[in-house]
């Protein structure tokens, strides 16, 4: 691309250029060329070409107009990535020569200059300091679809923004367009929604709007709201939308005038409506919550009651598999739970011999 940016500058100069500390115009007495580092007036085309050839301001202008994707959100994302709003061109090019890194969900994104051109690098945040030779290298953004499919344990990830992205891979050398495509394959639509939010036009669809839109087998979820509060939706959000479960920042509420009471999270990109997983789970809860409570009587020791609480916590926090085999001090330890089952369940698997339906 050597020289392309100079040709482009000469071609565009008659229309005037005013971008990122670069001003170029063609006046009757010649070209003017101004940057914080240089000012030339009344110069001919040959001189313009000479001063432009060595100017990072010109390469910067060319990148943002001829190399970077022009779709508003993609362009804004790439600008954000290198802190273009906070750093002038000179400072930015200094920083880019060493490389600038940021985080997007569990993605570690890095941009650096190679021979004066921006090249992009993506890997898992947990691999930020891993030797590149130890990571599987990819160059096709669409490979991200496959990488995003399973977690490190081989479990299917139905939710792309779950904080369970697998590790061990890298996209070491991407163009600007491929960087955005890669991010979008890992975390679809997050760039578009982030940009909409920044522009003040994120189209949030709250719980009420979303469930009342449902039809077919999901139409039943609408009946869960009975006009007597939104506590159940708090529980849904706490169960599904917490940062420990999803990296999107929940912006949807119960309805336009009723905020939920649980935190929406700290994610960089917003969640604009209950997703299909939330709706599918809510369908199950709608059915379960249609049941009336009843009183069961069990005899438990205080420690057994606390053990049940520990088991629920361990499963809910995804920590059951992390409890060491011989750590019998943990209530959710497998031996402890097997002992509890041996003691309290009868031969039909019924808890404490108390029938569910009596």
């Amino acid at each position: 691309m050597d020289g392309e940016y100079v040709d482009a500058l000469v071609d565009t100069a008659p229309d005037g250029i005013d971008f990122d500390d670069l001003r170029v115009d063609r006046e009757p007495d010649g070209y003017t060329f101004r940057t914080p580092a240089a000012a030339h007036t009344g110069i001919d085309e040959e001189t313009l070409r000479e001063v432009a050839a060595d100017s990072p301001y010109v390469r910067n202008w060319y990148f943002w107009h001829a190399v970077a994707p022009q779709k508003d959100d993609r362009w804004a994302f790439l600008r954000w990535l290198e802190g273009a709003d906070e750093r002038g061109v000179a400072e930015r090019y200094d920083a880019l020569s060493d490389g600038l890194a940021t985080t997007w969900g569990q993605l570690h994104l890095r941009v650096a200059l190679t021979d004066g051109e921006r090249r992009y690098h993506v890997r898992h945040v947990a691999d930020a300091d891993t030797d590149s030779d130890d990571l599987d290298a990819h160059d096709d953004p669409l490979d991200a679809r496959e990488l995003a499919k399973h977690d490190d344990d081989g479990q299917y990830r139905p939710l792309k923004t779950a904080p369970s992205l697998r590790t061990g891979w890298a996209f070491p050398d991407l163009t600007a367009g491929d960087l955005v495509a890669t991010v979008d394959a890992f975390y679809p639509a997050t760039v578009a929604n982030w940009h909409r939010e920044r522009e003040g036009d994120l189209d949030v669809s709250h719980w009420r709007d979303t469930v009342s839109r449902q039809t077919g087998i999901y139409g039943v979820v609408d009946t869960w709201d009975r006009g007597d509060g939104h506590e159940h939706v708090n529980w849904v959000a706490e169960a599904c939308c917490d940062d420990s479960q999803c990296l999107k920042r929940r912006e949807w509420q119960y309805d336009d005038g009723t905020d939920l009471d649980v935190d929406g999270g700290a994610g960089a990109f917003p969640c604009r409506e209950p997703c299909s997983l939330v709706i599918a789970a809510a369908r199950k809860w709608t059915k379960l919550e249609g049941e009336e409570t009843r009183t069961y009587e069990f005899d438990l020791t205080p420690s057994e009651k606390e053990q049940l609480e520990a088991i629920i916590d361990a499963v809910a926090d995804g920590e059951a598999d992390d409890i060491r085999e011989a750590d019998v001090y943990e209530g959710a330890n497998r031996y402890r739970v097997r002992y509890l089952r041996a003691k309290l369940f009868d031969e039909d698997g019924t808890f404490a011999g108390v029938e569910t339906d009596d």
Partner: protein, 293 residues
């Protein structure tokens, strides 16, 4: 003006491979360069039907449902979730298997969307079923001495579900290539369980009209037909059942030629993709047979 293709598929919260045919066909089409952008979207996965259009740069979008039948998903869910303004199923003027296209505006992005009928009811789907039979038998001339069963889910809630199966079975039967052609169903008569009752031919190719392999095509149907007692132990192709050799093909949607049907839908809606259609047919073994209609 740049044209984009968006494929709308069901996807799954549970089955990691549900999306695979969608990705494969999108990749085949992407490689032709016929569209500035090709995007997959899903009811159960991401990008979602709700948000995929905002990730597309082009102002003009061809939207093709990777679904088998016309009905609930193509007439209600997809238009609603994509926010296709002023959609009315009557715009397709379909009898249940003859959907065409409708040009609409997307409410949230303003893009022009050419909303196409599903792949499953396009005429070229008949070719894919035949191609699937060729693939599973390894015989490019398969037909003589063979019966063909086209298997659908079937459901009493949507009569179009069975119509699509019968439509293609009728079309393939009329070609006279196979000795016998029958449509069979999982949930209604005639049932796939009794497959051998419906054929006299010693060899029967069974092609399920499903988009992706999953619970139904990999577990239910093989067990229902008696290919195996337990799907986990697998089965041979062919497997002999009641004196018939059953060549079970798995989901037709995994056949590479499906990419052609997606392109045909876009072409019918005005997309300039004739070169891509030729290329894809060439690559996926779908060059038109002389006996084709």
């Amino acid at each position: 003006m740049d044209q984009a293709l968006v494929i709308a598929a069901h996807g799954s919260h549970l089955n990691a491979e549900s999306s695979t045919p969608t990705y494969d066909h999108a990749d085949t089409i992407r490689a032709t360069g016929a569209f500035a952008e090709v995007r997959e979207s899903f009811w159960k996965e991401e990008p979602s039907f709700r948000e995929v259009l905002r990730t597309v740069d082009a102002d003009e979008v061809y939207l093709v449902p990777l679904f088998i039948s016309e009905g609930y998903f193509t007439e209600q869910v997809i238009p609603r979730e994509f926010r296709l303004e002023d959609w009315d199923p009557a715009l397709w003027d379909s009898d249940g298997t003859s959907a065409t296209t409708a040009t609409l505006s997307a409410g949230d992005t303003g893009q022009t969307v050419h909303y196409c009928g599903p792949v499953g009811t396009h005429d070229t789907m008949s070719d894919v079923i035949v191609q699937r039979a060729q693939s599973v038998t390894g015989d490019p001339d398969v037909g003589e001495g063979f019966g063909l069963a086209v298997v659908g889910h079937g459901t009493e809630r949507n009569e179009n579900s069975a119509k699509a199966i019968q439509y293609h079975a009728d079309r393939i039967r009329e070609r006279g290539r196979f000795d016998e052609v029958q449509s069979l169903f999982m949930d209604e008569e005639p049932e796939v369980d009794d497959v051998t009752d419906h054929f006299e031919s010693d060899d029967v190719v069974v092609v399920p009209l499903f988009i992706a392999d999953g619970f139904h095509t990999q577990e239910d149907i093989p067990e229902d037909m008696g290919l195996t007692d337990d799907y986990r132990t697998g089965y041979d192709v062919p497997t002999t059942v009641d004196g018939h050799d059953i060549w079970y093909a798995g989901a037709v949607g995994t056949e590479p030629l499906m990419a052609d049907v997606v392109l045909e839908r876009a072409a019918d809606a005005g997309a300039d993709v004739s070169a891509a259609i030729e290329q894809v047919r060439e690559e996926t073994g779908g060059a038109r047979p002389a006996t084709g209609d």
